[in-house]
Subunit: 316 residues, 2 copies
């Protein structure tokens, strides 16, 4: 009986070797072992987050595959940014139909490679599987931080300002643009939907009293800070920072409740505002005060907003 | 304008709070923050693995949901077992159709809870998402080990024996049984397909020269040890240990090439066989020598096997 041909690996292993092995960091053991090894940096607390993204739910079948890889990494990196952590490594699982062309994997891996270089992270391990359904991706990101210095969602106090980084609403408007529902002549909105900007590298420990990233819509996520702090917040819709493209789109209800921003949402005591603005200048990141926390049962009040608002995005 | 009702959370958050928050370990921050915090045990090397399982590919729509949770954890735990690591924590991502009944989540979480207790692991974080496709699950498992003592796939030497734990083929035969293709009067095979047994807690450092777990079929995975060691292996099919149920099934080609065993595959020098058998007795785990590594180009030879063998399972 002829021996199984072990020199020609099944296609799954060839795919991993060609596209994912080049992404490996130290300890990944070339993705050729059952698990990866990692010696933690001494004296540091590790920070972990896992996010899944699904074709047609979080990205579109026609999105360039490199942007899908970058979005997967960036939504996970954004969680580290929300905690004030520094990224190190990630693990990846990928389920795709058997018919997925090799060029898709090549593009996806190229996007990962570009953002590995941009954010200083390396692939530590993962798994590939087939699926009869849409492409389903998951990453677990590993970062580190000085023990006790993680930013938390709890901690806001009455009188603290509510601040955001960057501009709000671009991601959700980008999805509308890609669906042909609004114009996007500069492609700014589509690009922000496909490739969000995790706000890593900011030094907010000792400045922000609470923090999170905005993934499910500004109002819903502001609600999370309220519940975690036992407070209400009043948001002035006119203060919410918009890109030129978002302003032209004229869809304030989408800006306030759409998801996919991946900007930071912060509570900042008035006494720390000068420090916040100094950090904003150092990092060249825009921070905008959009509201105030109030001593009241958890709720989100919007002043000057559109008359009808859907509640935030919920998967279930 | 009425404020969004932040007291009644969207269903996604209720689902997480009811089913997954009770699974949390220290550092998971009640799954209410953007990421989890983890202070690594001093002086220990961490071990990471991530595996995905997909409905209809790795489990069946009619499988009891508790067994799906247990299988997800166990296939990941098996990777730690293959490296000789001790499990600590895991992160979970879950994509399911919006129509998935709450009882499915309750059963899935109950299975996780049972195996958390059985294996001493806790949930550290994760994500839930909707999908228009099959349920897609992914876990990243975190373990620890004495630095430098991980078992690796490389390291087998000519003359080393090829050993397996437990019995081989039950998982793949269980899938055939669940499809109605073979009889399974005791349900032993179906149970082994649904709830594999990760071989944790064995002390094989200094005994095994190479190790991995068998997930893609005995012959294919033996080929991995051959490639990693630059060796051939000769397997005596008559020595491959079978459960009574597998023997009755009479499908040796499935036993040798089917996946889903999650037993360990080891290379053991002859001089360490006494130590291996002592460890087998201590741990009450069966170890069986099924072949010998040979100084030849990587290949897998089977003596006394069935006349036609499909090559191992490949996802792509």
């Amino acid at each position: 009986m002829p021996p199984p041909d072990v020199d020609s690996l099944p296609a799954e292993f060839s795919l991993i070797a060609r596209h994912f092995r080049p992404l490996c960091g130290e300890g990944a053991l070339d993705l050729a072992d059952d698990a990866a090894l990692f010696m933690p940096p001494p004296g540091r607390q590790l920070v972990f987050s896992a996010d899944a993204i699904v074709e047609t739910v979080h990205f579109l079948p026609e999105d360039p595959p490199d942007t899908i890889g970058r979005k997967l990494l960036r939504v996970n990196l954004s969680d580290l940014a929300a905690m004030g952590a520094t990224p190190l490594h990630y693990l990846l699982t990928l389920s795709a139909p058997r018919s997925t062309p090799d060029a898709w994997f090549a593009g996806f891996a190229a996007g990962l490679a570009a953002d590995q270089a941009a954010f200083g992270v390396r692939l530590l391990g993962g798994d590939t599987a087939s699926t009869p359904g849409p492409i389903s991706l998951s990453a677990t990101i590993i970062g580190h931080i000085t023990p006790g210095q993680a930013l938390r969602r709890c901690g806001a106090q009455p009188g603290d300002g509510l601040w955001v980084t960057g501009t709000i609403g671009d991601g959700a408007l980008g999805l509308l643009a890609l669906r042909g529902e609004i114009a996007d002549p500069t492609q700014h909105l589509a690009q922000r939907y496909r490739v969000p900007q995790p706000r890593l590298g900011l030094h907010l420990y000792g400045i922000a009293s609470a923090a999170m990233d905005i993934s499910d819509g500004l109002l819903q996520d502001a609600g999370h800070l309220c519940r975690a702090g036992g407070l209400a917040v009043e948001i002035d819709a006119a203060l919410v920072p918009l890109s030129d493209a978002a302003r032209r789109a004229g869809r304030p209800e989408v800006v306030l409740t759409g998801g996919d921003d991946y900007e930071l949402l912060l509570a900042v005591p008035q006494a720390r505002e000068a420090a916040l603005l100094a950090e904003a200048e150092r990092a060249a990141v825009a921070f905008t005060r959009i509201g105030t926390f109030l001593p009241a049962p958890p709720s989100v009040h919007v002043i000057g907003g559109p008359s009808a608002l859907p509640s935030g995005w919920s998967h279930f």
